[in-house]
Symmetry: C2
Subunit: 330 residues, 2 copies
DNA sequence: TTGTACGCGTTATCAC
DNA sequence: GTGATAACGCGTACAA
């Protein structure tokens, strides 16, 4: 690859002149300017962002840490993050943790070494104070998790969303409701559990149980099979995300249990698939793309030293009623 | 952030000594070694990958260009690419082109400036010779597209897969078959069209038409509505990918047309959703994760100067027969 | 075994 | 207006 020196040599000027035309800084005569532009074209010159970063101490790069991009919710978030980033001249490094704490921390360190200017951390489970310790002051924004110490984050009201979902099951007549939860230590899973419990406790005559899931298809499937094999089969299930809700549908099919006739089902996230499965799944909408986009926007505003953007944004959850909780037209 | 100098100063040694312990190169006395390690801990030192890259001319970063990570097929590919990359100490920059040629080229240039060591280009539509022109010799591997000039690539036999799909429709009794295609200039779309045509032409008494789609839900939906609104409704539809096939299912629902009774349907990709929609969609399997993983592997082998890996890999397409083409148990 | 000096590609600060 | 030069943080010959 051609360097600034090559361009200077070919254009018969000094590197500083070339630098000036590249960055539109300082004055440069028309004649020289043209020569330089010509030489850059000729050599197919691309300024080296590495060297540039070394001196400016800016890399125009942010890190994106997600549990798993192959999960539709997170791929939506990722898309949002990248769209907003590139629109602002930033580039995104993608990292998958598989919900693994160690990998999360490993990536935080690795990204620091790469001099990313900030990190969008999605669905994290690491305690915040530990994060702060790792961070060395590197800007970070939590997505899909409400920050307690950290100053910036975007999230939906998970407790409220779960409350909505559970309440809906109760209204549809369910009395023995099971919640297939996310990982024990996941903040969003915890909030959804809390919302579930609150709705249950508010209502006399309704019983709730919590089954451990892990936000993944297999874990959800296993939990569902257990629930549906018990002697006391629930009449309503609230899965902590749509991926597990879809697993519930498959498990029900397998066990010959009908949804919504025998068991009603609510999911969480509103991934596209939730609408197209059979029966379509009642779910709590979480706008992944918008969350990602907003996270990116807030982070970049911080990096650029702008303070015209609020550091936090709570998204309102919305219940989308579909056929997994309705008896009419499937 | 602490630099190597800070560490050297604190440990009371020279920077080269620190460098040596970091890179395990050259000899360094036990005493000094311990002092350096201690100082690094103390300062929470992270070697600066930027500076390091500048001198070594290596960034341990690869670029990943996909049409859209939010598309389940590509998010699978992306996941595969990242998994293999990180396992080899590489990091991935994610770029979404939205199937836009200009953005594809813009990203190729941008990534070059960032000194990525290579690029995984997925589902590209740019003519290969143009790519070569942009590349300046930067290693690249095509995924989901068979290279003609470029030397490395992973792909599935799209023509064969489309042939399989169409043949299956014919065998199931379809005589008026429509193909909802991908973008005109997409190599994989073109190959699938060719496979479709071949199967049609081989069989007397079978008529085929091609409707223009764009690999996206909306485009597929529109094409499907048109097909299903014509006076001469086809009895079989082969959609060039599953996302559009799912759109066909929705369009059919909307028009009150039954699948598979009135129209049989085959998709392409085998994204998870294709199995869970109703009816489940017969599709041609394309192993996105494995393709991504393999692409990453081949690229990195090149970068590391290893030649123990073949530069190309063709994946065999497999037909998965499900309920969108079968009349028995839905 | 350790330290010095140079270079990687760029930008910024000076002289000219 | 333009050009030389010192940083930026690190690796690596080479000298000590």
């Amino acid at each position: 690859m051609a360097t600034i020196k090559d361009v200077a040599r070919l254009a018969n000027v000094s590197v500083s002149t070339v630098s000036r035309v590249i960055n539109q800084s300082g004055y440069v005569g028309k004649e020289f300017y043209d020569r330089v532009v010509w030489a850059m074209k000729e050599l197919n010159y691309q300024p080296n962002a590495i060297a540039r970063g070394l001196v400016s101490r800016k890399t125009a790069t942010i890190g994106l840490i997600v549990p798993d991009v192959a999960n539709p919710f997170f791929s939506d978030v990722a898309r949002g993050v990248e769209d907003e980033a590139i629109a602002n001249g930033y580039t995104v490094i993608l990292c998958n943790t598989d919900w693994n704490l160690q990998r999360e921390q490993m990536y935080v360190n690795l990204l620091q070494g790469k001099w990313v200017e900030g990190i969008v951390l999605v669905g994290s489970r690491t305690p915040e104070h530990e994060l702060v310790g790792l961070l060395n002051g590197l800007p970070i924004i939590l997505a899909d998790r409400k920050p307690t110490h950290l100053k910036s984050g975007v999230w939906t009201d998970n407790e409220g969303g779960a409350y909505l979902a559970t309440k809906h099951l109760i209204e549809m007549g369910c009395r023995k409701i099971a919640h297939i939860s996310g990982p024990e230590d996941s903040p969003s899973a915890t909030a959804r559990r809390a919302g579930f419990r609150q709705a249950i406790e508010e209502q006399v005559g309704v019983y709730g149980t919590v089954a451990q899931g892990d936000f993944r298809y297999d874990g959800g499937y296993e939990a569902a099979i257990q629930l549906l094999s018990a002697e006391d089969v629930p009449d309503g299930i609230f899965a902590a995300n749509d991926v597990m809700a879809i697993a519930v549908v498959q498990a029900a099919n397998r066990k010959g249990i009908r949804i919504p006739e025998d068991v009603k089902l609510v999911g969480y996230d509103n991934i596209p698939m939730s609408e197209y499965v059979y029966p379509s799944i009642t779910t709590v909408e979480q706008r992944g793309y918008d969350m990602g986009r907003m996270a990116s926007k807030i982070l970049i505003a911080q990096l650029d030293g702008r303070d015209d953007v609020s550091l936090t944004k709570e998204f309102e959850p919305t219940l989308l009623v579909r056929h997994s909780t309705r008896l009419d037209t499937p």
